[in-house]
């Protein structure tokens, strides 16, 4: 982010962050089994950094809790994300970051489906297809410079 490079969307709308999940008594009880729920998945990904702005995907409203669905019993997760503008060239990278974060944070048994919220991006199908293709995701992560950018998005912000 330097020199005279102009961002595609320099002044996006900002949304409020949701409050931290409240700790319940049952979560502290050894004997209760806590199932993985939508909020837990949302918490995993909401703090991913945007590749361009020093903001999280939640603050840009790219991710919303209502678009995160999990079924613990059937081991499936589905996440829909909304690019800030229909021509956002970062859509694939954002999707990849979400996918990688979930791959790293969820048990093997889950089938992870990351896609663009229908009707919010010009090349929606192409991006969805890339994200759904296991081999292409794996190949992308072999690319060290791409992995670097993804890691950048996933690193906790240091102030």
């Amino acid at each position: 982010m330097s020199g005279g490079v102009q961002l595609e969307n320099a002044n996006p709308v900002i949304f409020q962050r949701s409050v931290e999940r409240l700790l319940t008594a049952s979560e502290e009880d050894e004997d209760v089994h806590d199932p993985i729920d939508d909020r837990e998945i949302f918490d995993l990904i909401r703090s991913i950094n945007d590749p361009e702005h020093p903001l999280s995907l939640e603050e840009l409203n790219v991710l919303e809790q209502v678009r995160v669905k999990v079924n613990d019993a059937e081991s499936t997760v589905s996440v829909e994300f909304t690019p800030t503008i229909p021509h956002c060239s970062m859509a694939t990278l954002i999707g990849l970051s979400i996918k990688v974060k979930l791959l790293r944070s969820l048990p093997d048994r889950f089938k992870i489906d990351v896609r663009i919220t229908p009707g919010t991006h010009a090349s929606e199908d192409a991006v969805n297809k890339q994200l759904a293709d296991k081999e292409r995701v794996a190949a992308a992560l072999e690319n060290s410079s791409l992995l670097e950018v993804v890691n950048q998005c996933l690193s906790t912000r240091r102030i």
């Binding site: 502290e28 702005h53 020093p54």
Partner: protein, 974 residues
């Protein structure tokens, strides 16, 4: 002239031809002791100095220089003059001679007797005859040191050289590469610039020769013995570059260029350099670069990559604005400040009308930074933006928009706070007072809680502006606050309101005395008819919290404390469900009274303290109740005696905590009457009573008195008497009062530990032996935490306790070996107690001691991790966790053992152990990368399992730890 002594001749001979370096020292010592003079030395050197062999000449000069090094202070002006002429001449000699010549000259520059003119001629010769950069490192340093010495003592003469001096220096340092020499060269350049040497036409040359190092990129070699840091070089160079406005035309373009680069460290350095040079510059130096600087600064804030960069850019902008504000305007020049502020407003103002977009905050921050720079700037900026902010606030309907606007306004108020000097009475915001107040009050009347909270803190900021708010505003504000206090249920709002009330009351106590306190009083004592309807414990609590918060000024306290006392006495008379019930029988009430009494007693004047303690002791010992007004006590009440057979006897005996609060916090010079009798009754109570608060307070009171008692026979004998009783009870396993006796022992031990009393060691031995006790073992282990930490109610500095510094370290160093020994000797089932004791001690130790002592204990801790007992595992993990955040080297050597033990625990059946072990593994990811990288794959595999843990808290830790380990080895990770 005396003949040259043969000793000297032989010394010279051995040094020059025999190449024995040690002889130089002897010659120097000889000169120093007056055995021979400088002149004799030169005469003795005669042959070597005129030899046809350059190496012999070099040796000769070397001897002379080394002798000078020891003796330069004693030289006469005449000697210095001759020597200087000689050395200047020798500069033309063979190159092997030059190093020694330079060393000699360097010594001569230190002479206070250097004759006038020598400095100049010396430098002329050096600049003329020596090509500095083809010399070796040490010789170059010699020349820099010469310059530094001469600049210190012969400033006027050097300035006489004019621009030639600067030119000579520029030529000398051109191409310097060694960081040690660069530090010296930067120092010279800084002196040239700051002390006003004539730069002549060489300004640009001097700038070029130094700025070519900018920005400094230097990584010291590992194990660098010189200890030069990048930071030192940066600051050295920055001092040169920012030292004079003459560099402005060269420096500013350079900074703009570096700001536009991609290298983060260069950007940051440029911002800091920019801020630094503003203290020297004037507006005419800046005028032509303002556009460029603004564009770069704006970009750094609008598209910031880190908070650090952003705050550096804002600081630079503030410095720039204040520099422009400082300049005196002349009639024909344009007003650069207003030109610049126009630029800022042009680019930022319109973003403030889009409160939900990202750029609102960066724009606001930029405006605020320039606003905070000077009074003039703050007038210009506020005049330009406040009307529009106020208008928007009144026209917007969405709460989130209004809140953002309010927050922006608040930041402006705060930024002006920092800039305004105290001699300006009129606040910048006076013009907008009415509008701002109506904004705040309308926000306080909204139902949206976050809007209310923001409004409360804006109100707070407004109140900090001296003389801004009128009395009528304050009255209205108090009305709003009171209303919210009584009606608002949201806890966050009411705590914000209480904070705001506290801050306002500090500035404007009158309104709170006349309005808030009477209203709260009314609420607290609302008539009992409608008691059931109106009584809300939450409202009550908020009222009390507000009363406490506003009671900062003495005038308010005078009004509020009667109300609080009334609350107390009304609580006293309230009828409980089972007959009359005093709040003084409630433990929490008593515990709350302890700090009040203790604080009051610790500050009493000596005579008053003496009276108080006399009364209190006679009340508790003799039942003298005469000084308590309106009491209903029977006369001769025996507060410290257990009434046998009475069920509620503890309701009286627990009052001993009040005795403790009083007598244990008095200054040490106040004598407590009837000490022996008091101690024995306290001992009796603490050893016989079965009520926890009673016996523990009695034990604490006993300990507090022991701690302050003067050293001597009577102290020792009372300690020993108590010890005997304690030990005999503890040695009898069937005794019913072992817990009580143990409590007494621990408190006495604490009291003695603090004052380094020699009898303390007996108590520690007893304590260690109890770690193996089947009943008291766990309690004994836990008690180490009490010994090592500061206590709140007694035995602390506030209570004037007899405390020596570093008692923790002392305890640790005296007892850690015993503990380790005890651990090794103990049977398996007893080991946990020892480990718990150890971890209790270690966690309380200061960091430095922890790090130095850990090596000895590490193997013990590692063994403890494999111990099957869950309690041991947990306490060891919690002992390790803080250490891992700042790991000592010895830990890194044991990484393999540590990691495999930790990984084994992530699937432990106990949730807490899983969580803490994963946290430890998380901490390991911050170790030096090359040390932990080999374990990456193994750790990632092991952490896959807790990702599917049945407990969410465990999963959360595992996700964080695994995420960090994934990033390991990639540059962004660290």
């Amino acid at each position: 002239m005396a003949a040259v002594s043969p000793l000297l001749l032989s010394l010279v001979e051995e040094f020059v031809s025999g190449l024995q370096d040690s002889k130089a020292k002897e010659a120097a010592k000889g000169v120093k002791d007056g055995q021979f003079t400088m002149l004799q030395l030169v005469e003795a050197l005669g042959v070597s100095l005129t030899s046809s062999q350059p190496h012999t000449r070099a040796r000769g000069v070397q001897l002379l220089s080394e002798v000078l090094q020891e003796n330069y202070a004693e030289l006469t002006e005449r000697e210095v003059e001759v020597l200087t002429a000689f050395y200047e001449n020798r500069l033309k000699d063979h190159y092997v001679v030059t190093p020694s010549v330079l060393r000699g000259l360097q010594e001569l520059t230190k002479c206070t007797t250097l004759p006038p003119g020598s400095a100049v001629s010396m430098l002329r010769s050096v600049f003329q005859d020596v090509h500095v950069q083809s010399l070796m490192l040490a010789e170059r340093a010699c020349i820099y040191n010469m310059l530094i010495n001469l600049m210190e003592t012969r400033e006027a003469e050097l300035k006489g050289l004019g621009a030639d001096f600067v030119f000579g220096f520029v030529q000398s340092m051109d191409g310097e590469r060694d960081p040690r020499n660069l530090l010296l060269a930067f120092q010279i350049a800084k002196n040239i610039v700051l002390q006003g040497y004539n730069l002549g036409k060489f300004t640009e040359e001097l700038f070029e020769v130094t700025s070519c190092y900018y920005p400094i990129d230097f990584t010291p070699p590992p194990n660098d013995p010189h200890g030069i840091t990048k930071e030192e070089l940066i600051l050295g160079l920055r001092a040169v570059l920012t030292g004079t406005p003459k560099f402005a035309e060269f420096l500013l373009p350079l900074l703009i260029e570096k700001l536009d680069s991609d290298v983060q460290s260069a950007k940051l350095d440029s911002l800091q350099t920019l801020a630094a040079c503003m203290s020297q510059y004037e507006s005419k130096d800046l005028a032509e670069f303002l556009e460029g600087l603004w564009a770069s600064l704006r970009r750094e804030v609008f598209q910031t990559s880190s908070e650090k960069m952003e705050s550096a850019a804002l600081a630079a902008l503030a410095a720039l604005t204040s520099c422009l504000s400082r300049s005196v305007l002349s009639s024909d020049s344009e007003d650069t400040l207003s030109t610049f502020l126009d630029l800022i407003l042009r680019d930022c103002k319109h973003h403030l009308s889009e409160p939900d977009l990202k750029l609102v905050w960066p724009s606001a921050k930029l405006l605020q930074a320039s606003c905070s720079a000077s009074n003039r700037a703050s007038y210009v900026i506020t005049a330009a933006i406040m009307p529009s902010l106020i208008k928007q606030f009144n026209s917007r309907t969405q709460c989130s928009h209004r809140r953002t606007l309010l927050e922006v306004v608040q930041r402006f108020i705060q930024s002006v706070n920092t800039s305004q000097s105290s001699d300006i009475d009129e606040s910048v915001f006076s013009e907008y007072r009415a509008a701002l107040c109506s904004m705040v009050f309308s926000a306080l009347s909204e139902s949206n809680s976050s809007l209310q909270i923001t409004a409360a803190s804006v109100l707070n900021s407004l109140a900090q502006q001296t003389g801004l708010l009128l009395d009528s505003d304050i009255q209205l504000a108090v009305d709003h606050l009171t209303r919210l206090l009584l009606a608002e249920e949201d806890e966050r709002v009411s705590s914000a309101v209480v904070d705001c009330a506290g801050a306002l009351a500090e500035q404007h106590p009158a309104a709170f005395i006349t309005k808030l306190i009477p209203r709260l009083k009314e609420e607290l004592f609302s008539d009992t008819e409608s008691f059931e309807l109106r009584y809300h414990p939450a409202v009550h609590r908020r009222c009390l919290a507000a009363l406490a918060a506003v009671s900062i000024q003495p005038s308010v306290v005078q009004e509020s404390s009667p109300v609080l006392l009334d609350v107390l006495s009304s609580a006293h008379s309230d009828e409980g469900p089972s007959g009359p019930c005093s709040p003084l029988t409630k433990e929490e009430v008593l515990s709350a009274m302890v700090p009040v009494i203790s604080t009051a007693c610790s500050r009493l004047q000596p005579t008053l303290a003496g009276q108080t303690v006399l009364r209190v002791v006679s009340l508790f010992l003799d039942g003298d109740v005469s000084f308590l007004p309106d009491n209903a006590f029977p006369s001769h009440i025996q507060l410290l005696k257990q009434q046998q057979g009475m069920k509620a006897s503890w309701s009286q005996s627990q009052l001993v905590c009040l005795l403790m609060a009083c007598v244990c916090s008095l200054p040490r010079n106040v004598e407590v009457p009837q000490m022996e009798r008091l101690l024995s009754q306290l001992e009796e109570l603490s050893c016989s009573c079965s009520h926890l608060l009673s016996y523990s307070s009695a034990a604490k009171c006993f300990a507090g008195l022991i701690n302050k008692r003067p050293q001597g026979e009577s102290l020792d004998s009372s300690i020993q008497r108590t010890m005997q009783r304690v030990c005999s009870e503890l040695d009898c396993p069937s005794s019913p009062v072992r817990t009580q006796v143990f409590t007494l022992m621990i408190w006495v031990a604490k009291a003695l530990l603090l004052r380094y009393h020699p009898l303390f060691s007996i108590l520690t031995d007893k304590l260690f032996s109890l770690l193996g006790d089947p009943d008291l073992g766990p309690m004994a282990a836990a008690s180490f935490s009490l010994l090592m930490s500061d206590t709140e109610d007694i035995l602390n500095r506030r209570c004037h306790a007899n405390m020596r510094i570093m008692y923790r370290q002392r305890f640790f160093s005296e007892n850690s070996a015993k503990l380790v020994q005890g651990f090794n000797a103990a049977p398996q089932e007893k080991k946990p107690n020892y480990l718990k004791a150890l971890s209790n001690i270690i966690t309380k130790l200061p960091k430095q001691v922890q790090v130095s002592e850990l090596p000895a204990l590490l193997s013990l801790l590692l063994e403890a991790l494999t111990c099957p007992d869950q309690g041991v595992q947990l306490s060891t993990l919690s002992c390790l966790e803080p250490v891992l955040l700042n790991p000592p080297p010895v830990l890194i050597q044991q990484l393999e053992a540590l990691i495999s033990r930790l990984l084994a625990l992530v699937c432990s059946p106990a949730m807490k152990i899983r969580i803490t072990s994963i946290r430890c593994i998380h901490a390991l990811s911050q170790f030096p990368v090359h040390e932990v990288l080999p374990f990456r794959a193994r750790v990632l595999r092991a952490l896959a399992q807790p990702l599917d843990d049945r407990k969410r808290l465990v999963r959360r830790e595992a996700v964080q730890a695994r995420g960090e380990w994934f990033l390991l080895g990639s540059p962004v990770g660290r």
